[in-house]
């Protein structure tokens, strides 16, 4: 496409944290009407660069120009005034306020009163222009994740953003919602907005963006001028600096069932209930659970993890019936668990990494005796795992929260695999991870499969499930809508089951 004068230009941005250069001499520009993909592995400096642009960090060197004029952005208020809007991965909304109230936060009304009519008109206009409709009077807490994201985008447009930055916007969306987001983004670009789209998912980047800038180790590793006609492999190579080969899943020889669910049902107390769910995972097998999020996957994971007792049905682990449904009981029977949300249900971000790594097994003889901790054993264990899994951190006493997502995921993996689980339950194992880290995680699962572990992977990324799993079960409205051998499964067939169309088991 023709390149008009850039809407925004970053020149020679350098930002260091102590000895680490998070950004070094990075140049980046976005033209009006252009969607720029910003690619890079975790820790490549994408977030830092965007934080500089949005005023959260002051750069050590370099300048930012908006429509050719150098500007100084020292706070998010400056950025908003300069026409830059950002949709973070974690939304910044007030859940108890309504959609309209959230939009009007920080916008001065007339003589101290809120300009409700003006706000409504503006919201309706934005809705018409880009197909981003929202009910103005609903409290934000009742919105789905996709709707909250839409509100964040509308919020930016509401404030007159000319440039919109989206940090991994599709990570929280169901596949069907991604299409809606993309058509809205295309419509905005068609009307002259500039968009920076940060993502790990190369197929999305190829489908959406006009141009890409790839970062590696804080520097610009390359630019892609025609993403639609560039292969994912070529882009991945730019990001990692070397070629990435998808892991090969050899044939498996499944053994005995290591996890069975027999007619499990739960109450509707929170979220979608399970209705008469039966499934089995055999040793040496990876079973995928596909489905649009909110169809009972959460309840399934909670029952298997022992944090929620079902109302009816029976569950066995390694042949033993689970009776009390406590996390301790299922762990003792041989279940390992890698949670969907590393930060909230997996790790303790404010404590040393070593503490998180021994958390589920702190009461066992390996790490304590007679109620006393064995600090040396804990430390040694953590050090060994850090080495074995190449977890990048200064040491086992580092605050867990200081680690990047990929390293945290490795730490969780290490903690579960160190004790040879018979069954492993995993949710969204590579969400938010870069290609290299995702590849590493996949290899570990395949290793465990070869060792005879039964693995159950709950995921929304169908391509990932197809690469990884031997069989894929699809959940729809709390039931298993159908199970396919991955040899017979295609995205189309899985998609059909995911929407509730009749399937064949």
């Amino acid at each position: 496409m023709p390149t008009p004068a850039p809407l925004i230009e970053m020149r020679g941005i350098t930002k260091s944290f102590g000895a680490v250069k998070a950004n070094e001499a990075v140049d980046l520009s976005v033209a009006p009407g252009e969607i720029l993909g910003l690619l890079g592995e975790n820790g490549a400096g994408k977030t830092t660069l965007m934080n500089v642009l949005f005023g959260a960090y002051a750069p050590d060197a370099g300048e930012i120009l908006i429509q050719g004029q150098p500007v100084r952005i020292t706070s998010s208020a400056d950025a908003l005034a300069a026409g830059i809007g950002m949709v973070h991965q974690h939304f910044h909304l007030a859940p108890r306020l309504t959609v309209l109230e959230n939009l009007l936060i920080g916008i001065p009304g007339k003589s101290g009163r809120i300009d409700r009519a003006g706000g409504l008109a503006r919201l309706a206009e934005i809705g018409r222009q880009h197909g981003l409709t929202l009910d103005p009077d609903l409290p934000v807490s009742t919105l789905s994740v996709g709707e909250q994201q839409r509100l964040e985008i509308v919020k930016a447009l509401f404030r007159g953003a000319k440039l919109l930055i989206l940090d991994e916007p599709t990570a929280v969306l169901a596949p069907s919602e991604v299409d809606g987001l993309f058509s809205a983004l295309r419509s905005m670009a068609a009307q002259g907005l500039g968009i920076i789209f940060i993502s790990h998912k190369l197929n999305e980047v190829r489908a959406l963006t006009h141009r890409c800038t790839v970062l590696r180790h804080g520097r610009v590793a390359g630019r892609v001028d025609d993403p639609a006609n560039t292969t994912s492999a070529a882009m991945a190579q730019l990001m990692c600096g070397h070629e990435i080969v998808p892991p090969a899943r050899g044939p498996s020889t499944p053994g005995e069932a290591v996890l069975t669910l027999d007619a499990i049902s739960t109450s509707t107390h929170s979220g979608t209930a399970l209705r008469d769910v039966s499934l089995a995972v055999r040793s040496g097998e990876i079973l995928g659970i596909a489905g649009v999020s909110g169809n009972g996957q959460r309840a399934l994971a909670e029952v298997i993890s022992g944090v929620r007792a079902p109302d009816a049905g029976r569950m066995t682990i390694a042949g033993q019936t689970v009776s009390r449904f406590s996390p301790r009981e299922v762990q003792a029977l041989g279940l390992g668990r890698i949670p969907e949300d590393r930060m909230t249900t997996g790790l303790v971000t404010n404590l040393p990494l070593a503490d998180s790594m021994v958390l589920p097994r702190i009461g066992t003889a390996a790490f304590s005796s007679k109620g006393l901790l064995k600090p040396d054993a804990i430390r040694t264990f953590a050090e060994e795992q850090i080495k074995a899994y190449d977890i990048r951190c200064p040491g086992p006493m580092t605050r867990a929260g200081a680690l990047s997502g990929g390293n945290l995921q490795k730490a969780l993996l290490a903690r579960e695999l160190a004790f040879d689980p018979k069954v492993l339950i995993v949710s969204q194992p590579t969400r938010g991870l870069d290609i290299g880290a995702a590849r590493f995680i996949h290899e570990k699962f395949l290793d465990m499969r070869a060792k005879g572990c039964g693995i159950i992977v709950i995921g929304e990324d169908l391509e990932e499930l197809l690469v990884l799993c031997d069989r894929i079960a699809v959940m729809y409205e709390g039931r298993i809508a159908g199970t396919l051998d991955s040899a017979d499964a295609t995205i189309a067939r899985l998609g059909l089951l995911m929407t509730g169309a009749e399937g064949h088991g």
Partner: protein, 351 residues
Amino acid sequence: MFRLEVRNSTPTWFNLALPLVAIAATLVLCSGLIALAGAGVLESYGVMFTASLGDSYAITETLVRAAPMIFTGLAVAVAFRAKFWNIGAEGQLLAGAVASCFVGAIPMPGALAMLLMAIVGAAAGAAVALVPATLRVKFKVDDVVSSLLLNSVIYYALMALIEGPWKDSFSGYPISPPIEDSANFPVLVEGTRLHLGVIVALIAAPLIWFLIARTTLGFRIRVTGENPEAARYGGIPVERVLLSTALMSGALAGLAGVGEVGGVHFQVMSDISPGYGYSGIVVAMLARLNPLGVVPAAIFLAAVMTGAEAMSRATGVPAFLSDVIQGTALLAMLVALLFTAYRIRRVGAAR
């Protein structure tokens, strides 16, 4: 122009320096009040220091005053580690005092009386702390509010006791009958008030540190406090940990009351605690919830309290200054804690 920027890591020396900086800032801020009262700042602080730490007798007096705050400071530190927001150490202290006084008034061999006083006093404090903890675990009642309000309930129950059925018939004052002489805690240094309870307090601090840092219960308390969801998924019985923490916290606060009855006042009166329970919060925050830090923090506050009285006599500055210093120290520490997570960065002036 300055702004706050998120820190990626906190240097270790920072953790030690912060309370000292907070204390220094407090003394600087409060010097304005001394000047307003018309006294010399350095002279007043000088009197405060001499009177509280200047000679061995002064030091024993400061330690006697520090003992209850070591206990309440430990009580708060343990509770806050688990994010059980126990603001009720004051009430738990009073309950411990009443219960131990009751036991101490029963004639029996001295050693047995002291032991029973400690046990019953600790149990009374624990029972009181169990109320807000149970309400939180079972009904999600806010523990800050319930533990705080319970302080008044217990205070006025105590007043009702000593104004009514428990009134000392001998003196006629609203004070409880004294405990048996044999139940008075032994004094360790002749001619001072340095009693057995002070030593127990000083020993309790490292014991509680060991419990938090080196036992599985301590591990569970820390993890529950920092991330109850991860703790639950990790197989830790979060509710039970919170209740155990409350029992321990209440027992420690109860022991503060036991020490005051057995070692200082030998009976219960309405002003047996000049807010030691609330001071415990300041102590725990200054100590950054580290049980070992509780000892110096409590001694600092105790020195301020003892010193302020002497300063008041010598320079005419009202002794209330000690309360101001306490409050300011808490605020200064809370501000200082901000710098463990953020750093100040200078940003060039806007164009």
